[in-house]
Symmetry: C2
Subunit: 292 residues, 2 copies
Amino acid sequence: GVLNLMVCGESGLGKTTFINTLFQTTLKHADPQRRRELPIRRTVEIDVTRAVLEEKSFNLRVNVIDTPGFGDNINNRKAWQPLVDFIDDQHDSFMRQDQQPYRGVKFDLRVHAVLYFIKPTGHGLKPLDIETMKRLATRANLIPVIAKSDTLTAQELATFKSRIRQVIEAQEIRIFTPPLDSSSLGGGDDEPAGHGDSTPVATQDTAAIEHARQLIESMPFAIVGSEKKFDDGKGTMVAARKYPWGLVEVENDEHCDFRKLRSLLLRTYLLDLILTTEEIHYEAYRRLRLEG
Amino acid sequence: GVLNLMVCGESGLGKTTFINTLFQTTLKHADPQRRRELPIRRTVEIDVTRAVLEEKSFNLRVNVIDTPGFGDNINNRKAWQPLVDFIDDQHDSFMRQDQQPYRGVKFDLRVHAVLYFIKPTGHGLKPLDIETMKRLATRANLIPVIAKSDTLTAQELATFKSRIRQVIEAQEIRIFTPPLDSSSLGGGDDEPAGHGDSTPVATQDTAAIEHARQLIESMPFAIVGSEKKFDDGKGTMVAARKYPWGLVEVENDEHCDFRKLRSLLLRTYLLDLILTTEEIHYEAYRRLRLEG
Ligand SMILES: Nc1nc2c(ncn2[C@@H]2O[C@H](COP(=O)(O)OP(=O)(O)O)[C@@H](O)[C@H]2O)c(=O)[nH]1
Ligand SMILES: Nc1nc2c(ncn2[C@@H]2O[C@H](COP(=O)(O)OP(=O)(O)O)[C@@H](O)[C@H]2O)c(=O)[nH]1
């Protein structure tokens, strides 16, 4: 399978680190260099690199679409334009290729998910966040995340999440929500439906619905990333950030929501992200183009 | 004495918390509300409040000039203008009052120090930081600080400080540096020169020069602030930020440079900040006005 993932946010919010952490923690023998060796497209504002995540039963090509320079200028008027153009261009490109009866589609970079990195100010969303997310949400699966969430205490994080949710609701920004009735419900975390799983279907669905609800309650996900590993105090080397006052563990649900986001992106809802992009966002684009 | 202190930086960088922490840790029976009860001037972009720090031998009125909204917009072109205008206006106002032979000066808000809060991205300074600091540095004592420095590991902080210093040097931004030959050298930390201090003058100067050198080496100061107190594990209640992975102590030099900055502002170099403002910055402004 192929996952096209856009990461968006000001520089210094840990986007590169997050992507590398995602790969490193997914593969037992991950080579973080792999990502940087295969740039497939680069402009001033859009930077696409490719990585392949391969394990015994798991083979996924991930195209990462980075947005360097976004929001870094003194004047960020329409900073969202290159992102919006890129997303639309991919639908456009697919449409044209699809219309060629014999050659077919060779190149599909339609964006399956946009991770929007929010600064951990503790206050709320800034005007640029709102304006950008509005325009991204109508074109692709938008997943806002709280960057560098180890900046926030447990209480500040809870308050911040609820403020962000209020603004998202008030501004009518439709973010990606794990569907409670999709094909993924039969799949759980690792096993495709009906494969060697002896749990009765009803229990499976209940567990899956509960899983979806927990994910929804944690949104926007609080992210911490790290390419470094440290001893967790019990002899295991874990991805973590080491401070003079303690160790922040990336894969510790008490410290951040990294594992929830990872399973959403690469397992539980991978298929939903791809299908909704092809069936909903692409179709919406196609209809607009054919009408307009 | 009176200290006029401007704090500048995007919202959410902990400026309000820092000011409250400064007051709370300076007074044993500080009333954090005191600051907010006495607003003396408020415009869209400039917000002045007053606080009085009084202890047995210590009586200081602090006017805090806040800059709400700075850098928060999509277009931040000339976001520095209200700050620059405010600083110039105070010199101007003083000049006019001074020129009135009988009434004299009633109102002096000339800015003695500007604390510029830098986002802890770990990368470097953004264009807005550079443009703003350039214009502030020529008009007042500029003290850049790294906001929310508990976002950075010890190594990231060292790298970040050195990158910031490189840019400041390359851009020729003159920041406030503890002078190595001023009147404060006789003063040390608490005792004014010659008062009950039996240390030989040469040793005093060496210690003071060493103190100044340590301050200079720590710049830009890494700031952590907190209005909350927690048990430090040894039975003492300290200003700190409590995370699931540990306690960041505001007054712990291993955790941040809060104490260094506090002593610079309120003790060791308080007089220098005031005198350089009156003798250097004010005179420069006056000369420009009389020539222009
Ligand atoms: N506090 C904190 N710092 C982080 C985190 N992830 C990365 N960083 C640091 O933030 C800085 C910028 O990270 P980078 O991944 O280059 O950010 P990007 O510009 O958004 O790609 C580096 O010093 C990282 O080590 C995190 O989760 N928490
Ligand atoms: N990580 C961290 N957070 C802080 C620090 N100081 C304040 N905060 C938090 O940052 C948020 C914004 O602080 P505030 O003082 O209102 O920022 P201001 O908008 O610049 O005045 C609040 O949730 C504070 O608790 C700090 O030193 N480190």
